[in-house]
């Protein structure tokens, strides 16, 4: 039982990170019908920006909560700018082309970011400075929750609430929903769709960057290729929840995180080796798509001739 609670906590921690990333995928897909393959790399960029900020601003020396806050926000802002730049220079010119073209461009952007970072910084992992005094608290007897896990829960829930507020209570959010409903009609209603798409990328990238910095606190190893598999799984999470659906992305992220942790924790008891950790997300994805192609919370779209 204790280990079950422990697995639950660990699973939700990873799941929260996936959820943060899945939100970016789902927002961009909802608006542009584009799988933004570079999103996982923004998560990596966020972690690296956080890394360099902590050294530049002198927070790497010792743990400080203020430092962590500044690094987190700084990384989110810079990554949001990177995301906007990617949209402006790579995705906007090809928005009207076939889906395949945009998908390949997204793959190209992803490869470009990865290769640029590998060429500049090397592929070797780096240790992210600990900005948080690590400490564990005991829960329910033997299960432990660390400070960084609490941080991940608090920050990700806060960000998700903030996003919910932006999307449903502000003018920009209304415009975003309008654009995702129908881009051309939104344009006719006087919405500057280019700006709204830019804002969407900025929001998604900021969330991904936050995910990157938070992960780096929990597991302080960062490398230029860390975004690939995490990004893919987060995308799977977005599809699982119903792509284009905000609560679905969060639900999908948490489910993928839990499934992964339980496979590692209990899989061996039923003959599933821990190396299937990365496969489980895809297996879930395939099952969901085959039996409920719109995802858990997605609505069915009737195809018109």
């Amino acid at each position: 039982m204790d280990t079950f609670v422990q697995q639950l906590i660990n699973g939700l921690t990873i799941g929260a990170i996936y959820a943060l990333l899945a939100l970016g995928y789902t927002m961009v897909y909802g608006i542009l019908r584009l799988i933004n393959f570079a999103h996982g790399d923004i998560y990596m960029v966020g972690a690296f920006v956080g890394y360099f900020l902590s050294f530049q601003l002198g927070f790497a020396a010792g743990p400080s909560l203020v430092g962590l806050g500044i690094v987190l926000v700084g990384s989110m802002i810079i990554s949001a700018l990177v995301g906007m730049a990617i949209e402006r220079f790579a995705y906007r010119p090809i928005r009207k082309y076939a889906r395949m073209t945009t998908l390949i461009t997204a793959i190209g952007v992803s490869l470009l970011i990865e290769n640029l970072f590998v060429a500049r910084l090397g592929a070797a992992p780096r240790a992210f400075p600990q900005l948080l005094q690590e400490q564990s608290y005991t829960l329910f007897g033997n299960a432990a929750i660390s400070k960084s896990q609490i941080l991940i829960f608090v920050v990700s829930i806060a960000l998700m609430l903030l996003l919910q507020y932006i999307i449903f209570k502000t003018k920009v959010g209304t415009a975003m929903r309008a654009v995702s409903f129908n881009l051309n009609s939104a344009k006719l209603m006087g919405i500057n769709t280019d700006v709204i798409i830019s804002v969407t990328f900025a929001l998604g990238s900021a969330l991904a960057a936050a995910g990157g910095v938070l992960t780096a606190q929990y597991n302080p190893q960062i490398d230029p290729l860390m975004g690939i598999i995490t990004g893919l799984k987060a995308f799977v999470a977005a599809v699982l929840g119903g792509i284009g659906n905000i609560p679905g992305a969060v639900l999908g992220g948490l489910l993928i995180g839990l499934a992964e942790t339980f496979v590692v924790g209990y899989g061996q008891n039923v003959g599933v080796p821990t190396t299937f950790r990365d496969a489980v997300a895809f297996a879930i994805l395939i099952l969901v798509l085959l039996f409920r192609p719109t995802g858990l919370l997605g609505s069915t779209v009737q195809e018109k001739v």
Partner: protein, 366 residues
């Protein structure tokens, strides 16, 4: 001259040329001339990539079903055949050598390995294709990616084929094998595309609902082209495995599938010659970029990915679009005045397939 005889003669000439080239590229060289092993390696890998790109083009370029799982089928073919050649082939080859001589036995065993790889990969394609091909567009892309990744992880957990440590495989492949199979792949795909089935596939690409309304069994055609495509990828995997002599599941990560997609997108989806061109360029480009002076060579992959984006931004339909490069194409483009391109100007994937079909007719009429 009767067509059959003509074909046999052409085939013989091609094989003789390939044998000569093979000798030229081998360790001994031809009449004292030879190719450095580095270049020979690039050429052989390019030919394997041609097989992969042309086979993926059948399902993605001609049928319009976006698959990001081609590397998975390549892996299935590679590992299935490697299992055979490592654990069983030596004994069989010795037994056969007594009957038909060593060279023939060696060749027969490799043909068997390629067949096994193709069949197993085709079966994997069938298993993956039947459920997945009900999905469309991005969903299909993601499911194929997922399947490929699962295939890779399953192979990683089979200790008999090395697992995470890798798998040493005997070397069978040389340029002759790769050349023959690359040409065969192109011929088979060309014939499929220019047959009734090809018309059905292209109609599915253009409009699946309309194709279904015209009485085409879309599911069946999609699955069949997926299976053929996977089987060919499996054969390419066999050749790859027995050329590199070492298999690691890292060779078959999804980045590999991306690479194959890049080849066909670069050359132009729905163009056979485009796929061949794309495969050669994608193989050569990173190697050519190695020649960049000094510090720049570490940026070669950066340049490579930047080029990919630039090509997509400037010529999204690929270098050839759906056109075919060939003699009739040259003739026609000379006939046509400047600035009146037939198709493919506006959308990423052009609608019309006319030029390819026209050129096919012209070839037949000659």
């Amino acid at each position: 001259m009767p067509t059959l005889l003509k074909r046999v003669v052409v085939a013989l000439i091609i094989i003789i040329v390939l044998v000569a080239l093979n000798q030229y590229m081998g360790d001994e060289g031809l009449f004292g001339f030879g190719v450095p092993p580095y270049y020979a390696r690039i050429i052989i890998l390019a030919a394997i990539n041609v097989m992969l790109a042309v086979s993926l083009n059948l399902i993605t370029g001609f049928t319009g079903q976006f698959s990001i799982g081609h590397a998975g089928f390549m892996a299935v073919g590679a590992y299935a055949s490697a299992y055979m050649t490592v654990y069983h082939a030596q004994a069989w080859e010795r037994a056969l050598a007594g009957m038909v001589g060593e060279t023939v036995a060696h060749a027969l065993i490799f043909v068997l390995a390629i067949t096994v790889g193709g069949i197993v990969a085709g079966l994997a394609g069938l298993l993956v294709g039947i459920p997945s091909l009900r999905l469309r567009g991005d969903y299909l892309a993601i499911v194929t990616l997922g399947f490929a990744e699962i295939i890779r992880i399953v192979i990683l957990n089979i200790d008999k084929v090395g697992g995470a440590t890798g798998f040493s495989v005997p070397g069978y492949t040389n340029f002759l094998w790769v050349g023959i199979f690359a040409i065969l792949t192109v011929i088979v795909v060309y014939n499929i595309v220019h047959s009734d089935m090809g018309r059905a596939l292209i109609s599915i690409r253009e409009d699946e609902l309309a194709a279904e309304a015209m009485g085409i069994n879309t599911t069946r055609y999609k699955v069949v082209s997926f299976v053929i495509s996977s089987a060919m990828a499996g054969m390419a995997g066999v050749l790859f495995a027995h050329y590199t002599r070492f298999l690691s599941t890292n060779d078959f990560q999804f980045i590999r599938s991306f690479e194959i997609i890049i080849m066909i997108v670069l050359g132009g989806m729905g163009s056979l010659t485009g796929a061949v061109f794309g495969a050669i360029v994608v193989t050569l480009l990173p190697e050519l970029l190695r020649q960049l002076p000094g510090d720049f060579s570490q940026y070669r992959l950066v340049v490579y990915s930047a080029l990919l984006i630039i090509i997509m931004l400037t010529r999204p339909q690929g270098v050839l679009g759906t056109r075919e490069f060939g003699l009739s194409w040259l003739k026609r483009s000379r006939r046509r005045p400047e600035g009146t391109e037939a198709v493919g100007g506006t959308a990423g994937v052009p609608i019309a397939e006319k030029p390819a079909i026209d050129s096919a007719k012209e070839v037949k009429n000659q």
